[in-house]
């Protein structure tokens, strides 16, 4: 069977499964819609969190980026996993004990201020929209490459599916669908990785094969081979970085702290029954994420060797164009791989210097990896289904945050407090509908800046929410004036820096012009530090936090409802 038939079958089966689960797990109350009634088992919640977290970017793009930049790619690996340690130790148990639905709820109640709540609502909606547009685009790309439908048609199909289970099921439907989506995506990612590892190194565990010797009889370590090829071809050394150490440090920190501050991740810890479960949920989530994240650098290294070898041939002279490897001819059709015969010898050549004749898009590495390793067609189709699972599960989680922010934080707690639960549920569903349509529109007409704004989403989460929540839990006397001033200065600073280098003066976006050598991707870390400093300084010179708020902070520090009883 060809790739397209296999893709129709596998994508069809998985979609039917998601819809079936959505019907089974319909939400009946706002509690079920927002946090699945708070009754999800920690392992299921861990899987759902992992699927929610691992987006089209993690699944499709990350290994490809690492394959091209080697060691520097570690910023994504450490950044997007290390944030879970912060979440588990510093945020999740306390926010679960607090026991409301959303992050703006916590900010609004803890800082006894409507202004603080509204700043938080604005950030939550902005961050989530930024993210969701990219997901819908990912859905469209997978559809158009593997099912050969128009990219817009692909996005519309994706919208309908997400619409169906997010709007009907709310958090309950989403959670159980995400459990299924996790299983699909991890299976799809691991199967080609394991096969490739066996073929290249003889070791079935990619994480070990990656540090093992080549199975071609040379006895050479795989990574030494890549470094050798890189030196010969004028690429940067794979196992050494080319970014400055300070930039790697700041980017890693911004991604970690940003992860811990993303509302669609934090909200997952409101769905488990007890504080104890919130702690362990983060552990399960990280195990499920780590399976993919430790495999991705192995996939990256395997693909690097296969890619160079298949283009340049064993003698490093380049293969003649008529004998071009299958993956090159397949992907040339999409325009994502280009060959230009600069020296007119009729041979393809790939290098990091002036001899280079190839232009290869980073995003194809994962999707092309089965072809690179000559694996059967059903494996390619499986990757398509996995990529869709990753994109849809993340999109659904984000849409839920948007609809909750509008219905609960903006309307119920802000503009229209007299709503009944039924009206609130209706408002939540209607705003989910609005969010799906807006996200689809942005997927079809992508603003040119989707890629740039990802840095924005993390920077903003790092420089706004994270310090406000940490201070809210660990610094009882932090008052509303300090928190609001901190959040606003963090956001304004980070936004100004990113907008300056990404939108106003993109030509100045070079290390010489950056402050302290920090790129816009890493600036959220500095914004976060600024937020902490401003918040603490303003707190010192303004009024004391009311006693009842201090008592509330006290109470969220202990697993049982003990706080109030201690003082009185």
């Amino acid at each position: 069977m060809d790739i397209q038939t296999w893709t129709f079958i596998l994508v069809g089966i998985t979609f039917a499964l998601y819809i079936g689960i959505a019907i089974w797990a319909r939400a009946a109350s706002t509690g079920e819609f927002y946090v699945a009634g708070g009754g999800v088992h920690p392992i299921a919640n861990g899987m759902a969190t992992a699927a929610d977290w691992m987006s089209a970017a993690s699944f499709i793009s990350m290994a490809g980026i690492i394959s091209f930049i080697g060691y520097d790619g570690g910023v994504y690996l450490m950044g997007w996993t290390g944030g879970y340690v912060l979440l588990a130790l510093c945020l999740a148990p306390y926010l679960r004990k607090f026991g409301k639905f959303t992050v703006p709820d916590f900010i609004g109640d803890r800082y006894y201020s409507q202004t603080a709540r509204m700043v938080a609502v604005f950030c939550a909606i902005f961050v989530s929209f930024t993210y969701v547009a990219g997901q819908m685009r990912g859905v469209g790309v997978v559809f158009s490459r593997f099912l050969e439908v128009d990219i817009n048609m692909g996005i519309i199909i994706g919208m309908c599916i997400v619409f169906f289970y997010a709007v009907m099921g709310g958090m309950k439907g989403i959670t159980y669908t995400q459990v299924a989506q996790y299983c699909v995506l991890i299976f799809a990612f691991m199967v080609p990785a394991i096969f490739t590892s066996i073929m290249m190194t003889g070791n079935p565990v990619p994480q070990l094969g990656f540090g093992g010797t080549m199975a071609d009889g040379s006895g050479m370590y795989l990574l030494d081979k890549i470094d050798g090829l890189s030196a010969e071809l004028g690429f940067n050394q794979y196992t050494d970085g080319s970014k400055s150490m300070v930039d790697v440090f700041f980017i890693t920190a911004a991604l970690m702290v940003g992860t811990a501050g993303l509302p669609h991740v934090i909200i997952r810890f409101f769905t488990v029954p007890k504080v104890k479960d919130a702690r362990i949920s983060a552990g399960w989530a990280l195990i499920f994420i780590a399976i993919l994240y430790t495999t991705a650098p192995a996939v990256a290294a395997f693909a690097r060797v296969n890619m160079i070898d298949s283009i340049n041939g064993p003698d490093l002279k380049g293969v003649p164009a008529e004998q071009a490897p299958g993956w090159v001819t397949n992907w040339e059709k999409t325009g994502l791989v280009k060959w230009e015969d600069k020296n007119g010898d009729g041979r393809m050549f790939y290098s990091g210097d002036a001899r280079n004749e190839m232009d290869i898009n980073r995003d194809i590495i994962v999707l092309a990896s089965p072809e690179l390793a000559n694996l059967p067609n059903w494996v390619v189709a499986l990757l398509a289904a996995g990529g869709l699972a990753a994109a849809l599960s993340t999109a659904a989680g984000l849409l839920l945050v948007i609809s909750t922010s509008v219905a609960h934080d903006l309307l119920k707690k802000g503009l229209k407090p007299d709503m009944t639960e039924k009206q609130e549920l209706l408002a939540a569903r209607l705003s989910a509908v609005g969010a799906v349509i807006a996200a689809g529109y942005m997927g079809i007409n992508p603003p040119g800046f989707v890629a740039q704004v990802v840095a924005f989403a993390f920077g903003l989460a790092a420089s706004s929410f994270f310090p406000a929540i940490i201070l809210g839990i660990f610094y009882k006397k932090m008052n509303k004036e300090g928190a609001i001033a901190g959040m606003i200065s963090g956001i304004v600073f980070t936004t100004a820096y990113i907008v300056f280098f990404k939108f106003i003066n993109p030509e100045m976006n070079t290390p010489d012009n950056w402050w302290f050598g920090i790129s816009p991707e890493g600036i959220g870390t500095l914004g976060m530090i600024l937020n902490f400093v401003v918040a603490i300084a303003v707190n010192k010179v303004t009024a004391e936090t009311p006693q009842e708020v201090q008592d509330m902070v006290e109470s969220i520090r202990y697993p049982k409802g003990a706080g109030a009883a201690i003082d009185h």
Binding site: T81, A88, L89, F210, L286
Partner: protein
């Protein structure tokens, strides 16, 4: 009332912060320390086919993160039991 007195609550919180502090120190050491700041000296050491600093940046730090969370869970459950604030 879960805690016997305010003093017990204070001690519980203090022990909680200590556990967090130790685990966060390890978290910082494996990622920012071994994976970034000390990557060059560590790369002089080999672990099979890996340079050690590279291995921490792309593999080791992630395994350590998982272990840290499970150690935290175990320690906190013990602490809850000790102070009789288990759920």
């Amino acid at each position: 009332m879960a805690f016997e007195n305010k003093d017990m609550a204070k001690r519980y919180w203090g022990e909680n912060l200590k556990i967090m502090g130790i685990l966060l120190a390890v978290w910082f050491a494996v990622s920012y320390g071994f994976g970034i700041l000390l990557v060059e000296p560590l790369n002089q050491i080999s672990l099979g086919g890996f340079k050690l600093g590279f291995w921490f940046a792309q593999q080791g730090s992630i395994y350590t993160f998982v272990v840290l969370i499970f150690v935290y869970v175990a320690k906190m459950n013990q602490l809850d039991k000790k102070y009789n604030v288990e759920e």
